[in-house]
Structures are given as structure tokens and as C-alpha cells.
Amino acid sequence: MHTEFLMGNEAIALGALAAGVNVVAGYPGTPSTEVLETVAKRKEGNVYVEWSVNEKAAMEVAAGAAYAGARALVTCKQVGLNVASDPLMSLEYLGVKGGMVVLVADDPGPISSQTEQDTRTFAQFSKVPCLDPSGVQEAYEMVQEAFELSERIGSPVFLRPTTRVDHGYEAIEVAEQDEWLVRQPEGFVKDSSRWVIFPRLSVVNHAKIEARNASLSDEFSASPRNFVLPGAGECARKGIATHGISYTYVSDNLDEACLPRVLRVGTPFPFPERLAVEFLQGLDEVLCVEELDPVIERALIAVCGRHGLTTKIRGKLTGDVQPSGENTVESVGEAIARFLGKEVPQPQPSDAPQLPVRPPVLCAGCPHRASFYAVKKAMGKRKTIYCGDIGCYTLGNAQPLDMVDTCLCMGAGINIAQGVFHVEPDTACFAFVGDSTFFASGITGVVNAFYNQANLTVVILDNSTTAMTGHQPHPGTGRTMMGEVVQKVSIEAILRAIGLTTVETVNPLDHELAVETVRRVADEPGVKAIIFKSPCVVLARPQATSKVDASACIGCQRCIRELGCPALALRDGKAVIDETQCSGCTLCEQVCPVGAISGGERL
């Protein structure tokens, strides 16, 4: 063993490697991405790792590997689990042979997600056991326990850290590389009565799953991952039930003088009922401190009902804990103070001066800015809808571009545009989708729109990477996580194979050509596509910078007001360019009405 200062996600990756994981598949998504990246970086021997095209593919790859006796890990964020839910729901009925862990990173807040869904609730729904770590060291240990458990019970197992565990750092004890388990998978053994799902098999296996989960609940009651800390003093008849990162907020808010009994739940499903009954004995009231869904709170209410206990259960459902959003040290402190009848610190009204706001923006030189601006200019005052999608380009919604009217989930924009078209045929419908998102779930959308005779323009924003989550490769990049250089999957060839006859590839930074192309393509009938192709500026790192000739600048601020580029500012009534940010993309040079900006170099 040795000590390493690790991010939670790195610790999970090292834990999986120490557990002898053979196959790792996932799709990038904050806050889960670093798990798979760390596996790729630190793996030894025959470990196979891939960024799959989406989470459903990842789940199926992992399932196949686990059928063949390998230990397999799936990594995704909470909304990625929705994409993978079809295979997972059925997989639970069939089970696995090798241990299979589904790492799902939940995102209270949400900090970088669409939903505040709770994988603990998904665990109940799918009947898949779930482990919920409170810190980095525990996440490292739990992933290893999850593999053992999965293999022992023949079922996939969830590990569901939240953002603060994923992205928290701690110095933890980890195994030396020569201590890592080395497993040789047995291989797939044909048995159609086991691996082919039919209704008859499902009903039989359903009964087995329910019985297994009842017995797991009992086993978990004795697990060190669930524990009760004794209370003391005048608060000893009160209890706090908590989990995950919230447990650490509770710990930081307790003092010896008035110590309620604490239940920490590390296995939210199956819920450790026997331990919960012991915890509740002699308590008048319990406060459940949870993030996302009131999972423990509902479980304790049920336990009280089943066991005839009179303990009052409080939490989100009673309004004692905030129903949504991320818990903080102080929000938990205030909830505990109210619960224990202590003085609650009143927030002081702020007397701070006005502060500038810093909404996330497209980077200086980002080709997406040029793409949005070209479409905006081309369509002018025409009746349009601009359907966006998930990626950096969602930021095209911000002023002054204001070019994202809708955003729902991965790949949805194309068929949202189609739906609007069927209601408003006179609207020019656009769907913006990034290259990685196109591969993940955009292709079926285009097929659907094409087959069903829609009239819309698909705009592929192809920056040759998965930029938002930190530049992961995808099928269009020609690189894999195993380090191979492979044949690129061509977006243009896919679109043509579907049947689209108009597919134009343009550099969005050539503004005039881009505008002309959009005007022409948008007026063609049916489904057509424009591929705006230009590399992500963060990866391309161009070296040129544009400069404003102050004597020529007329101070019209057109560059600033039209583009919203973070490198452009106003000083003494003239535009100035921050050369530490400018990448010389030349878009502002092309927008300036008097040619006062020059020096950039278009990629």
C-alpha cells in the first residue's frame, strides 16, 4: 500500500484496476469522465477500455464482457444512465457471470446536468443493488466491494458517487500495482436458458431477484458501510440519517455537547432495514439529511409503519430539508440547528457592491460562434427555430448570439425541429448538433426526419472532438482509447447513405461563404445538412492574434455587440483585443465595417 493524493474519480479507476477489471466502457459526461480516462492512463496488461458511441452501447459491451466471465465497468453520468436504461433493466433479469459495476455519477445542484435525478431511486426501480460513498477513500474501497458483490450475486451493481465525491481530492491509501488482482475470464459458455430473455424466464428470475434483495437487506444491516454513531447529552433522543457527501456536512456541524444519534447509509438499496430498526429504537424524531430524492426518508417511514414505531421522520417531505439543489455545509448546519431547537444563524443582508456576472461563454476563437453567427446573418428576420443540443454549443443561447431556442437531451434537437415543422410548415427549422452528439444519438434522428418527409436543416458543428467534457476521441476522430489510429467514420458519408442529397461542408470561419451556403441550403426542400468543420480552438492552439488599429476603429462596437467574444473589450471608446485570449480566428476582422482589425490567421 502507498499514499496518493487522488480525485474521487481517479480513486474509483484505481479501485477498479485493483479489483482486476478486464473491460471498461463509457461515454463522457461531467462529473464521471475522469474515471475512464484514469483507467486508460494507469492500466496494465490486458485491460480493454473504450469510449463507446453512447451509454447504451457501453452497457451492452460491458454486459457481453461480463457474460464471458470478465469483470466489467460502465461509466456514465446520471442522464447517461437513462440512455443505457433499456439494456440495464433487462440485464438485471438475466444477470451476469463476471462482476459488473455500473458507475453512475449523480450531480446535485445540478452543476453541469439537465436533471437532479437520483440513481438510488433508479436502483429501486431497476432492482440493482447500489453503493453510495461519502469520500474518496471509501469510493476506492467500495468499487472493489461492488465487483465482489456483483460476482457473488450474479447481478450488476451500482456505484453512485455525487459531484463532490467525484471531484474532491484526498490523500488515500491505495494498493501497489503488483497487488492488483489478475483475473483470467472463463469465456462465454453457451446456455440459451440463461442468456436469452423470454417472458417465462423473466417471471422466474423476478421472484429470485426479490428474494435475493430481501436477503441482501439483511446482509447490508451488518455491513460496515452502514453504521450508527451513538448520541450523547440532551439530544440523545434525536437522530440524523444521512448518506454520501451530506454525511461529511453533518459531521462538520455536530458538537459534543448535544450529539444526536447518526445513521450513515452506504447501501441505499437494498435498504438495511434491520439496522434502521435498531437505530430508531428510543428515538423521538429523526432528521433525514439527503441530496436529490428522499430515499432514506421514505425507507424509514416504511420501516416505522412495518414495525409499529412511533418515531417521527422528518426531512425533505416535511420541508425540514431543501427539496432540491445541492446541500452545503451551512444548509445542513441550519437544518440541524432547527431540528435540535438551537439558534439558527440569520443570514446577514449583503452590503457588497454590484458584481459582474460570468456566465460560461464560448471560448475566444471558438468555431461554433462563427457557425451560429453565419446562420443568424443568413436567416435575418425570417421565421425560424433554432433547436440546440448538448455540448459546448448549448452556450450559443447566450446574448448576443441568442441562437439556441431549445435544448432537451442528447440528440433531441433534430426531432424537436421535426416536430415543430409538422405544426408550423412555414418555419425554417434548424437543428444544431455537435459531432460527438451526432454519433451518440443524432443519426437515428436524421433517419426519422428523412423517412417522415420533414423539411429542416441539420447543422453539424464538427470540431473533431468531444470538447465539453475535455476532448475525448469519438468515431469521427480516428483515434481510440486503446491508442489505435483507426479509420474515421465520415459524417458526410453517413448523411449521404441515409439519402440526403444536399450535404455541404464549409469552414464557418470563412464568414461570407458560410452565410451564402446557409441561405442556399435552407431553401432547398426536405432534410439537408451543413457540416461546419473547424477544429476546437482549445486543441488547435493557433498562435496568431488579431489587433485593432485604434486610428481606424470608429468605435461602432459592432464586433463586441454582434459576436460576444471574450477577447473583445472596449477601452476609451475603441475596440481592443486581449491578446492573451485571442486566437486570431479572424471572425471580428470579417465583421468590422471599416477593416480596422487585422493580424489573425484563419485555421
Binding site: 493524493f5 474532491g168 481530492y169 484526498e170 456536512y249 462538520d252 448546519g333 459582474p356 446574448q399
Partner: protein, 193 residues
């Protein structure tokens, strides 16, 4: 006994490396460390923060409001934004060069630098101002502001760390070609008496 530090700035300024250097320096002294970082959407030019907790008796990686001993701010407005985290007698080390967001020029709230600096001077008992422009000029680079600020933070005496501790961490974590620049940056800022 523990020390709680909030580092804050704008995405891309180097707050994450600064928090890693602090953590590494503390670990070398045998102290337990927990940190929390902003990663993801907020990095794109947004406000970012890191929490660093050094010492025994720490459970959460996040610091509660009013519980930070030290704020290391890479820019004045972000110092004010994070000020609610500071203890009443806490210390703030702040780089005085403002970073004005595009939003302040396109209809969003303006950047009122004078009001912001006056507020910091009024509210903070131990305020250490670091002239980032002068530092960049004298050192020949604006890329090592994070280490200039760490040097000032160490000299403020709040951290139970020495400049040698941080220097060792720099040797370990920073690429060879930036070693010299960062060594000079660490020695640069002098603490106001």
C-alpha cells in the same frame, strides 16, 4: 487544528494548480488534506473556486460560510464574491488586476472596480494586495500569477507552511521549463506589514 483556504478566480487563471501545490506542500509536512474543485461548465470563463482544507478534524471537502481562514483571490470581484466564506478575522490575498467579462460590456452588470476595492478595504482586517500587472512586468510573464499569490499567502503567516515547502511542491508538480519562472514568482511578493 485545521486551516481552511478558498482559492477563487476566473476559469483559466490557474486556481487548480495553486490548490494542488498547496495540498502537495501540506502533505509533505505530513498533514492531512482535502480539496474540492470546480470542473466542467463553470470553467468556460466562469467564476471558479477551490476549497483546500489542511489539518486534523476535517470531514467535508467543502468549507462552510464564515469558516475560511484565508481567501486567495486571483481577481478583485471574485474576492468579493467569495468573501462570505471568510472568518471575521480572516486574511484575503488578492490580485488587484480586474478581469472584466464580456457581459459587463453587453448590457450585464458593470464592473465597478473602485467600489469593489473600497469594499474589500473596509471589510477585510488582513488584506494583502498583489499588483498582478507589476508582477507580470517584473517577472516577464502573466502565467505565474498563481505562484506569486501563493508566495504572498505563505508570507501572510496564516498557512502553517514555509516558502520552502511550496518550492518543493513546485519542483515536483511543475514542468521543468517553468521551474525557474515559478521559483522567481514564489519569491516575488512581499507581505504588507
Amino acid at each position: 487544528m485545521n486551516v481552511n483556504i478558498v482559492l477563487c478566480g476566473v476559469g483559466g487563471q490557474g486556481t487548480v494548480l495553486a490548490s494542488k501545490l498547496l495540498a502537495a506542500a501540506a502533505m509533505d509536512r505530513g498533514l492531512p488534506v482535502k480539496t474540492a474543485e470546480t470542473i466542467g461548465m463553470a470553467q468556460r470563463g466562469g467564476s471558479v473556486f477551490s476549497h483546500v482544507r489542511i489539518g486534523e478534524g476535517v470531514s467535508s471537502p467543502l468549507i462552510g460560510r464564515g469558516r475560511a481562514d484565508l481567501i486567495i483571490a486571483f481577481e478583485p470581484a471574485e474576492a468579493v464574491r467569495q468573501l462570505p466564506f471568510l472568518k471575521p478575522e480572516g486574511t484575503v490575498v488578492v490580485a488587484t488586476r480586474p478581469i472584466v467579462p464580456a457581459s459587463a460590456l453587453t448590457g450585464g452588470p458593470a464592473y465597478e472596480l473602485d467600489a469593489i476595492m473600497t469594499y474589500l478595504e473596509d471589510k477585510v482586517e488582513h488584506l494583502v494586495l498583489v499588483d498582478a500587472d507589476a508582477a507580470a512586468r517584473d517577472l516577464g510573464s502573466s502565467k505565474c500569477l498563481n505562484v506569486v499569490l501563493l508566495g504572498a499567502a505563505v508570507r501572510s503567516g496564516v498557512l502553517s507552511l514555509t516558502t520552502e515547502d511550496v518550492a518543493k511542491a513546485i519542483k515536483r508538480l511543475v514542468p521543468e521549463r517553468f521551474q525557474d519562472l515559478n521559483a522567481r514568482a514564489l519569491a516575488y511578493a512581499e507581505c504588507e506589514p
